[in-house]
Symmetry: D2
Subunit: 474 residues, 4 copies
Amino acid sequence: MDTIPNVLAQRYASAAMKTIWSARGRVILERDFWIAVMKAQRLLGLPIPVEAISAYEHVQSQVDLESIAERERTTLHDVKARIEEFCALAGHEHIHKGMTSRDLTENVEQLQVLRSLELIRDKAGAAVIALGERASEYRDLVITGRTHNVAAQPTTFGKRLAMFGQELLEAFEALEELIERYPVRGLKGAVGTQLDQLTLFGGDVEKAAQLEEKVIGYLGFSRTLRSVGQVYPRSLDFEVVSRLYQVSAAASSFARTLRLMAGHELASEGFQKGQVGSSAMPHKMNSRSCERINGFHAVLNGYLTMTTALAGDQWNEGDVSCSVVRRVALPDAFYTIDGSLETFLTVLHQMEAFPSVIEAENDKYFPFLATTTFLMEAVKAGSGREAAHAAIKEHALAAVNALRSGESDHNDLVERLADDSRVGLSREVMRSLLANKGKFLGTAREQVDGFVAKSRKVGERYPQARYLKPGKIL
Amino acid sequence: MDTIPNVLAQRYASAAMKTIWSARGRVILERDFWIAVMKAQRLLGLPIPVEAISAYEHVQSQVDLESIAERERTTLHDVKARIEEFCALAGHEHIHKGMTSRDLTENVEQLQVLRSLELIRDKAGAAVIALGERASEYRDLVITGRTHNVAAQPTTFGKRLAMFGQELLEAFEALEELIERYPVRGLKGAVGTQLDQLTLFGGDVEKAAQLEEKVIGYLGFSRTLRSVGQVYPRSLDFEVVSRLYQVSAAASSFARTLRLMAGHELASEGFQKGQVGSSAMPHKMNSRSCERINGFHAVLNGYLTMTTALAGDQWNEGDVSCSVVRRVALPDAFYTIDGSLETFLTVLHQMEAFPSVIEAENDKYFPFLATTTFLMEAVKAGSGREAAHAAIKEHALAAVNALRSGESDHNDLVERLADDSRVGLSREVMRSLLANKGKFLGTAREQVDGFVAKSRKVGERYPQARYLKPGKIL
Amino acid sequence: MDTIPNVLAQRYASAAMKTIWSARGRVILERDFWIAVMKAQRLLGLPIPVEAISAYEHVQSQVDLESIAERERTTLHDVKARIEEFCALAGHEHIHKGMTSRDLTENVEQLQVLRSLELIRDKAGAAVIALGERASEYRDLVITGRTHNVAAQPTTFGKRLAMFGQELLEAFEALEELIERYPVRGLKGAVGTQLDQLTLFGGDVEKAAQLEEKVIGYLGFSRTLRSVGQVYPRSLDFEVVSRLYQVSAAASSFARTLRLMAGHELASEGFQKGQVGSSAMPHKMNSRSCERINGFHAVLNGYLTMTTALAGDQWNEGDVSCSVVRRVALPDAFYTIDGSLETFLTVLHQMEAFPSVIEAENDKYFPFLATTTFLMEAVKAGSGREAAHAAIKEHALAAVNALRSGESDHNDLVERLADDSRVGLSREVMRSLLANKGKFLGTAREQVDGFVAKSRKVGERYPQARYLKPGKIL
Amino acid sequence: MDTIPNVLAQRYASAAMKTIWSARGRVILERDFWIAVMKAQRLLGLPIPVEAISAYEHVQSQVDLESIAERERTTLHDVKARIEEFCALAGHEHIHKGMTSRDLTENVEQLQVLRSLELIRDKAGAAVIALGERASEYRDLVITGRTHNVAAQPTTFGKRLAMFGQELLEAFEALEELIERYPVRGLKGAVGTQLDQLTLFGGDVEKAAQLEEKVIGYLGFSRTLRSVGQVYPRSLDFEVVSRLYQVSAAASSFARTLRLMAGHELASEGFQKGQVGSSAMPHKMNSRSCERINGFHAVLNGYLTMTTALAGDQWNEGDVSCSVVRRVALPDAFYTIDGSLETFLTVLHQMEAFPSVIEAENDKYFPFLATTTFLMEAVKAGSGREAAHAAIKEHALAAVNALRSGESDHNDLVERLADDSRVGLSREVMRSLLANKGKFLGTAREQVDGFVAKSRKVGERYPQARYLKPGKIL
């Protein structure tokens, strides 16, 4: 039987993310962890020669999965096999002192989580920046804002993008907070009492505490969980995936709206280089990438559900009913959000708006949206308020019905009003009012500017995000 | 980058399930489908030579994934590549007539679902049968039934197993119903109107309908969906996974209870051949398999969530926002339930009860559970009802407190009552009442018999389930 | 503090549904249950006078919640208070014999579920029938079928409705199956062994079994669960809500699509009598009811999640960790689906299509959708295949671009092709091909007929569904 | 039809929480909001007399729901009715200037959320403090730590409590962060462009921005969302409920473990004053409150699911498909977590441990847990390592089997070892090793101290949490 691949990793996730969660990548992170522990143990007085540490560091990236598997067939214990392999490569036996298997696996999995969170933060940051750029580009492109999927008031396409950008920014900041606070379990032993480390240090409570502090310093965590059991609280896994879901939500709202706009041919997610529309159906620019972003959102929700089941179900000091759940939910949640952001960035770079179609839609609806202004001007020009109001209402209804019945092929409200003496406004006056669209935009453009400024600050905080380009997507 | 494997498939699912969902297995099912369509088209008058069909059948199982991938690099279209490969192998060009890509993929995915459902039905049936066997074995083993996790009334271990068996049986029957009713999309074309098949048959509506009838007959579906869009309704995917979840629930309730019993050392999930307990901790028989069954349940809930997002979100005649969701949720849900049932069957075969520990627990609680009987007998023997009642209440409370405070190391209620003249019952009388445990069991044993009979009927309906043995689990 | 109302019940659910789950309705169902038990106990030989049963029946609907609450303040036990009230009204003491509180509450809650399922089945049936009627009405109204939210192939509005009708029909049949199979816990006592009933019948196992058979016969259940604990398996609650979710999914897919159509002004969910559009925004026919149906779907998903947590989490013979969950999830799930179907029926009765707008959309896209036909006809008329193909492709692309750029205000493909001698077809020929839309519809209309026939059969099976009209919605 | 009450509010939530979400409480918060807007508008130059504001403030708490309902029957518009009522009471017409209905409802709902979050923060803080107190009390009570629900290593009950306390503390800090960052939508108008407020201030962009700043300052928000549509992003609702779920998870893990301990009679959740155990079953101290906490967790998960559906589903500038979802999910999620914390606090105050039973369990398992120590001492005392190891292994296994088979009624490992010359340790030596339990506890007690110190800091940050006592629960 051939290997069944993980479809999320294989088709959608980036190499960087796969590296973190691959068998090989995990071995390297484990070795990172063991080395950090040795360094700390040495500093605190355990007799570990500096040459031994160097020897381990020297061979750290020599990962031979087949050799490890071979050892496991003998030892029947996966952690033991990996210990032996690393020691054989280094020619020393100083790793894993005073550690249980869980001391290794819990912490290494949290290291995978932390590195993945940082990668996602950078990509989400790149998306904020890209949204800022596109919002800036379309800052002044007036579109017909819709509520209930029906024309409501003018806005600009840039402002619409800034709106989704704002949602993403909130999620981005929540992610930053989590990364800053994310606590690691540390070396706590079988039931969390640090019995073995304490024994190793001859009962010196202070040293057992310092050990953890030093280890996490090497690895980039900000703090440890002071009091845990065999495992760290699984509500932390829930917290991680729920933050990813917030990021995904912003991408998903954007994608949903772009699919709607594509249905009206107001915009398109664009084509990838080399991709062409069907020749039989040249009009058919399917929003496949946006649909996929929405799909990823549903997938991520599934992994979120898995972590909801972990949170709040600890029995005593813990067990492994969570094992299969975490094996699936953690990597797959990260592959999903990674795939989603890769797709989102691609769409942000390729999408295009169709100003003529947008203009035609504006023409269709603006006369309705401007009736309040017409009334005000009619009164200014000397018409009676009540009479003008009644006339406008009457003609607006008639214009709508004419459009719906097919009697009229464009919005003829201006003509109808111009022909009614109760209103007292000429075609020209009304058309010039309609032409001055800036009047109807409120602070739409200033809001764009505000968001663009914020997005630039993200780029300053995370310069790596500025240069992050999506890989080629399927 | 090495392939990242699907962890559920790799570690937990059976070969039979992996075959259905593997790349190779899918190619074979596609060819099944194409052959079925050809046969039906030929019968209805399309000029497809019988030798062509034979030629396709002859090469059906020759699957060369690399060759297909090579063709895809040229055609840039996956379905086209697989058509060309199959035709090249057969030396004919008669497949895929009047079909769109979706006509192939929707139906083949439903074929994967159907075959998987049948496999799961057999395994769930095997679990019903195994529960029947163990319930029968432990039909008369009296245990202390618990509610709120506290001793409540006697029952038997067989009856407890029958109780979980009953839950599984309900889920099993719901699964049977679904398999019987499961409808397939059929050959409906781009928006569901059968335009291409109708054109193929010169506008003969009757033949287009017959075509579908014949095709599903070959493949084992019971019926087609008469009116669909580009896709079949995704609420059907939800229905499939929700039925799997019901099956999983019964296994999960059983596993949860066995973990509780193991905590009291009343029972153990047993060890696999070759597996041994820790020598340092010989008492530590961890319920790892039962914990895993509970884990699978949480995982399956995640895939259920994914399908909830598909159901009720169709836009017009459909799109592919569901694509990534179904690629993940459908195979992975089946791997999960498959792994869960493999584990469940293993536990059912290996678990053991510890009658002495069970007996000790019964001794601890039975005097409390029998106080109503003592009162009745005391009155019969001539004691005053009120006085006896007060005495029993008083002593029961004292006996509990003595146990809790450590003042007493066993339930001494009988001794306390025997020493109280208000009760008027001797130690011997009370002990013989306690010994006659059958009196306290209600219809527990008859319920076991009833369940065993039902489980045998399942074996008669599905003889293949009787001989189904779980593979070796991790 | 005023009572905080249940918003789903208060704003959306029907009186019939509220009656089942109200405090008063529950008291009546409990009395139904007690009376059924008495009748069965009497028939099986217990000394319960027929006059007593009559007396209870006579006062069954006299529900005085305040009096019951008064009694509860004395007894501090809710079931006991309701027993006393009913006995005091009837002047007898024959109810609740050999029953525990759970024997009452489990069965009565299942009675509420069953009655609610029947009510929902009737409403879902009414929706099938209404969809049949509207599908029939719009059987021949050609619309532009969309995939990926983009024009794909012609279909009819009736066929689109039949497509959603088909989805609903599947859910409806799954609901019918469940109602037919829905098993009740029965009188099983504290841990499910029927100890008390068996004692009541002097150890006669046969009579204990017959008792249950008779009771469920009176109440309308089809069968009992043979082997249970203190509670019935909670996977059954999951099954119930998952079936409701399937029903909701069909309504939700329909609503989602109608919202999309309203965005193009192709159709509207209509207005309720007395409701008017905004005078300032006469074009703004918001799809509020359809949005609400989608909202209900999300709400129901939440209750489904609650029941997923119940299923598979039984400890031993059961406990009450499910109590608060079921108190919320069961009634609220039924209020939700009830509100959804009330809204759905309202929309089905009020919605309207706008044929002129639909026709304009068809005109915009049909020339693209017909290019295959044009090619065929060009070849028939003597043009070279390759040349004609190249010309059509070229002009189709140009026509799309002209529309997008605003250069052209209608689809001028026919004119472009007519002007190109490589094609050799006149405007008239092409326009007549386009006019014969029936040719492009495949079996769309026959599928409508098929669905309409099925929907009528539902009306025959459940005549009450035919006359079911939705109440006035908010 | 009587009002169907919201069961979560009625049975479980506190008066403080109900006040926030009640009809009356909402009216008061709306008036808070209107007053804040008036004050800001006045400061920025709008002609609103200071007496008018005073007049509104004077009548703010005069809420007559019946009068409002009466007005609504006339206006057929709920917001308009409440405007009229407030103006009539105040004798002025200055509220709601330049505001749409959504400007009111979105912000007021966020105000309800913020006030509820603060209330929950205080209660979660009170639970942290109470856990600190109990952990301190049981700091030195040695218990048998369990993994896989089986005895693993000694720990203390205080440390177990600190472990759950640590989980709660993490959730608590996540909640603090959210409250600090929680952004409000502000006065943005129909599609988010602030058109009406801008018009009100004659196009002065700066003033429109200042208006929002001032309003949120009055109300206690930290910041506004710069760029939104008709609605604020619904992923914010998801974030709120996901934080509540984290809090609930810690309570739920604790409750799950206490239910397990109660099953072994090691501890009990205690009884409320006046509550008594069943006299027939005096041993039956059901963990009903802990079960309920687990139930609340499942309920909250349902509301979380509802908010997952809102997040990522925005169409354009927004619509009301979220309306029914938020009406249900937001208040009910808060009632649920509120009920859960009330119950949790009650359990924390009432629970009791049973040291004698705990000691008996320790005696049963300690000899196994101490085998490593025995080996070390045997070698020190001159025995051969291999021989001693073999002997210990052999006897440990035998001791376990004797316990399981009923051959022995206590752990006789020490006696067995004392009788084996390969080991060379006397009963007395081994018993004194076992008696020195402090040696086996690692840093358990220091971890308790660490947590207690942290819990006290919470009390310093939120003194109101220190004095918060739970109400009487059902």
